[in-house]
């Protein structure tokens, strides 16, 4: 096998596309909604779906991986762990550090939720690395959009549109992703610093060429990760000082296993997405900062409307991560809602794909 070919494939690799297409076509004919599932690790994210389960976990395997091309194509039922291991063997990674939220996480769940980890502000989100998808449309047709090349502007960008759409526009069966080499050097550290000083420093560093790849703050401590070439990481490490930090901190932050995210805490967990330099919001809440301030986690009993209005005034939005919220996502403006409805109507006229998962009205 030449080096441009796929990995050998494993015994568990399976292509179920044909059967999945048939199931979707049946659902469309009968108008019976389907609930698309992977490992179920992100079932809490969004609204509950009523429908027949369409389990993607059997549809798995890396179909093509060429490290020199910086591209991997993978069926969406593939465990995320398996994909990350194969990339790591070649010294590469998914630069957006997707959260797993459990051992069963699949590639499909990663694409459908579009969630990214601590490196996001510096390298981009899941959608920034999606090059192409294969998707089953409502008539049960297996189509391909985008491809395995870095640049492709032929037709509309359906790959990125469907990333983060929570399976409401089609069944994504395969995705091609840009992958990147792991950085040559990485060092994590922690500084004792009050919030105002930490934010001021992050804002200043953001305007300088500095090899940062993660920045969080909680309870008087600024957590930083430096990544890049050996010498620049060493120089910045010497300049910043602080205590060494176990890099497992970033995994725990990403996976919500830090004490802050304790599930026994009765207060709902909120995610605020804000312009990174937004000053501390006037909300009664315990706050953990990630993404250099652009993503803030809140533990708060305040009513959803108060949190949402404050986030919106700052130019951002708020998502409730605690299951059971009637509307986990910030409502859309009337004009945006209209075009969401029209897109949904055109791509899924009978409303069979994960109805209500994102918003009650579709």
């Amino acid at each position: 096998m030449d080096d441009s070919q796929a990995t050998g494939g494993t015994a568990t690799d399976r292509d179920l596309a044909e059967a999945l297409c048939a199931r979707v076509a049946e659902a469309d004919a009968s108008g019976m909604p389907i609930h698309i599932t992977g490992g179920g690790t992100k079932a809490f994210y969004g609204r509950p779906v009523e429908g027949e389960i369409l389990d993607l976990t059997g549809h798995r395997g890396i179909t093509h991986y060429d490290p020199v091309e910086l591209v991997v194509s993978v069926r969406t039922g593939t465990p995320l762990r398996e994909l990350e291991d194969v990339l790591a063997d070649a010294g590469q990674q998914l630069a957006f550090e997707p959260p797993h939220f459990g051992p069963g996480a699949t590639v499909g769940g990663m694409i459908a939720t579009g969630l990214s980890g601590p490196r996001r502000p510096w390298t981009g989100a899941v959608r920034d690395f999606v090059l192409g998808i294969r998707v089953i449309t409502h008539q049960g047709r297996h189509l391909r959009f985008g491809g395995e090349v870095m640049k492709n502007v032929a037709g509309y960008d359906l790959s990125r549109l469907m990333t983060g759409a929570l399976g409401t526009l089609g069944v994504i069966t395969e995705v091609s992703l840009k992958v990147l080499p792991k950085p040559a050097a990485s060092h994590s550290l922690c500084l004792q610093l009050p919030l105002a000083n930490a934010m001021a420093k992050l804002t200043k560093w953001g305007q300088q060429p500095m090899p940062l790849s993660a920045a969080g703050w909680h309870d008087g401590r600024l957590y930083l990760r430096l990544e890049g070439g050996t010498r620049s990481v060493a120089a910045n490490r010497a300049r910043l000082g602080g205590e060494d930090l176990d890099p497992a901190f970033w995994t725990a932050l990403r996976e919500h296993t830090l004490p802050f995210f304790d599930r026994a805490d009765p207060r709902p967990l909120w995610r605020l997405s804000l312009p990174h330099h937004t000053p501390p919001l006037d909300l009664a809440a315990d706050v953990l900062y990630d993404w250099a301030g652009a993503q803030r986690w809140l533990r708060s009993d305040l009513p959803a409307s108060a949190i949402r209005e404050t986030a919106a005034r700052a130019g951002g939005h708020a998502t409730c991560y605690t299951p059971g919220a009637a509307e986990p996502f910030s409502p859309l403006t009337p004009v945006l809602a209209k075009y969401h409805r029209q897109l949904k109507m055109r791509l899924d006229p009978k409303g069979i794909f994960n109805p209500g998962r994102m918003y009650a009205e579709f």
């Binding site: 020199v68 090349v149 492709n152 502007v153 037709g155 130019g315």
Partner: protein, 499 residues
Amino acid sequence: MNILFDERLDGALPQADPQTTRERLRAALPGMTLLDREEDRRPFECDGLSAYRVMPMLVALPETVDQVVTLLKTCHELRVPVVTRGAGTGLSGGALPLEQGVLLVMSRFDRIVELDPEARIARVQPGVRNLAISEAAAPLGLYYAPDPSSQIACSIGGNVAENAGGVHCLKYGLTVHNVMAIEVITLEGEKMVLGSEALDAPGFDLLALFNGSEGMLGIITEVTVKLLPKPETAKVIMASFDDVEKAGQAVGAIIAAGIIPGGLEMMDQLAIQAAEDFIHAGYPTDAQAILLCELDGVEADVADDCQRVRAVLAEAGATDIRLARDEAERARFWAGRKNAFPAVGRLAPDYYCMDGTIPRRELPRVLKGIAALSKESGLRVANVFHAGDGNMHPLILFDANQPGELDLAESVGGRILELCVEVGGSITGEHGVGREKINQMCTQFKPDEITTFHAVKAAFDPEGLLNPGKNIPTLARCAEYGAMHVHNNQLPHPDLPRF
């Protein structure tokens, strides 16, 4: 097959009455410039794909968003097609006017609304030139990363509409990776904001959908872009090769070494010669190919990477490796590359620029295919290549005054694009489909995929009034195109409905 709008293949266009349209627009928008005299409309009859020209029915030059809203509402009500134009540098005929349509020119929206160094964003009107953003941000130590070679002229609105690239895409991404938010006016005159100054927004990723949508879904009236801190240093290495294939392999070897260069460009012999004659960049005119590899970032790392890249290039068989000694030489090396199109343009009365992408490993095969097509047609082809991300720009030289040569150049171009699709690539990496590649869309996509594109379009513009005929072909066009390309008695699209 001619690419001008053909109602038989592209669908019936609403018959707008020029006089009514003019009167209604004048009445609704007394303060807006509306050109209707032939000599005033003439300069707008084509974009960068100048082989095709159509006189627009009317040319509107609004200056405020309210005017755009009123114009769209009026055109929607009268069912008059609207073609939007930025700076008109597009190479695929995306801004090619329609005889029955209004040309909406966004060039007067040329204000930088806000530069915020702490937020690291620039909020600009769509007619602002790409380079003007980086120039305005330079005193703050910031810049806007995507740098199409047309950056002195092209507009940011056009960049978003085409998802424009440049020579630094592999590391810094395309337009879609560098735009935070856009304000859009829909065909019905509604205003919406897609994206935000936060890193994401609720709902579908409509911002990504609008990037590269070629003015088919809405009019962009404001763009918020991400600014990056200027790299501490940037170095350029130029490597010469006596064989194009070796240069191609060197590209893979650099990436295999775990290095992502800021820019990684390749030029073949004809392009090197042309650029050298035009710019005097200091290129080795005896080389079969050169690679320009830019390494940027923090000083210490760049020094290390330069060492490693030199070693990789030597190993890959480079005959000469030169590090630009100073900023002036670095600028010269890039000037040669950035002016490659006009430079090649001096070699013949006309040139036709292609824009296919391929998996990099297929480069030798595609270059051989291009050489064969060149030989067969007798037309010279120069190759300029965003090698790092597999985006090729073959430049086909011809003389439009020789009967049949334009057709020949187009047919060679079309076959090059089909070759790109065959090896797993795309018919366009950054220049867009427009009218130019409307037929080749039928090669890249199956009818069901094209139908899905039409469904997306219909969600925003069910009557097809925004930029009709661009970007997505009708199935009727694909059927006709397929019928013309019968190979071995086999239709390439046997599954297409025939009309």
